[in-house]
Symmetry: C2
Subunit: 208 residues, 2 copies
């Protein structure tokens, strides 16, 4: 049941599209919080009842906007794996680049939505998808039975989201390739246990 399903009544498709476009347009000029449903339907030139027929509140409308974006995210990272059964670090990096490229492609909307803090569920929704990433394989090949898969998976997904958020906050000052490089660098740069003890300013007693 995709959001842009073409098997749906044309009237619904048109109304929903107009509502989405209107919301995006309004978000470019005013704060999400200040946008009323009345604003949206007036710009969309639709009856207010039409909005309530499809959505409960404006967040739900924005959610649907983002579902379209996330659908592209999924396509993006899956693409390099289409015809590959064996993968190496190189194919992984291709997949990682695709993710960042996808974000760069939708830079406008990511900026608009992430900076507006309009969608409380967006972080979790993105991470839900990131958890399905081939990056999980990165964990699998170094079998450490001590590590809890679910925790590690959530760790990894939110970590990548963290990089994306930082990227958005810099107004995309890095390239997608650079972001992918950084992610792989961070993932592969693990500490050597022996070097763990370090001094900060000066050596001091263990307790004072």
């Amino acid at each position: 049941m995709a959001t842009s399903n073409s098997g749906i009544d044309r009237r619904i498709r048109k109304s929903k599209k107009t509502l989405k476009d209107s919301l995006i347009a309004l978000m470019k000029s005013k704060d999400f919080r200040e946008i009323t449903i009345t604003d949206i339907v007036e710009l969309a030139d639709l009856n207010r009842g039409t909005f309530y027929k499809h959505y409960q509140y404006k967040e739900e409308l924005l959610e649907e906007v983002m579902e379209d974006v996330i659908a592209d995210l999924i396509i993006s990272y899956r693409e390099p794996y289409k015809h590959v059964d064996v993968f190496t670090i190189n194919e992984l990096s291709v997949s990682v680049i695709k993710i960042f490229e996808h974000v760069a492609n939708f830079a406008d909307i990511y900026t608009l939505v992430l900076k507006s803090n309009a969608l409380p569920t967006l972080h979790d929704r993105i991470c839900e998808e990131l958890k399905k990433l081939p990056l999980e394989d990165l964990e699998d090949y170094r079998p450490n039975p001590k590590i809890n898969k679910e925790l590690a998976s959530s760790y990894q997904a939110y970590a990548i989201l963290g990089m994306i958020i930082e990227w958005v906050n810099t107004d995309f000052k890095y390239s997608a390739e650079y972001m992918a490089e950084q992610l792989l660098e961070i993932i592969t740069n693990k500490p050597v246990n022996a070097v763990y003890k370090i001094s900060k300013t000066c050596k001091a007693g263990p307790q004072e």
Copy 2:
């Protein structure tokens, strides 16, 4: 400018506390979205104007509730470092345990707020604090000039948030100690480059 500042007019302190308590109480029985400001002030037995004198909308009230919680988070992780200038992996793990213990102490409110998806900014706010963690030191001692500090910091902070969210979603089925162990295990378990190539199901041609 703390939220529970005692240097503030007693009337303000009382009103704010009553409003916070009322909101929390209401959140236990109904969805955040369905709670109206009228509900809050009626339960608090205060005039609606009093709410608007201090807050713009209910999210702002909830934000202040969480600021009190976050204040405790900060105290918690700083505590082990009070009298230490040299730190080792052991002291780090103590600090990490303190974070998870703090979350466990406020399990009720973390569950209430994170599961309600009421605060779009909460993730970012928590991560803002996590970025200040001594974990940064963990990065510093293995100097890799290729790694972008800001990106790595955001990566690490959101990664820990990811673990916390997963923990909340399991209704705290693990202990704080276990969570800390897992975090340290994940952080220190880095792949060896040589073993990077793995096969999934069967070997296949590079492209089809």
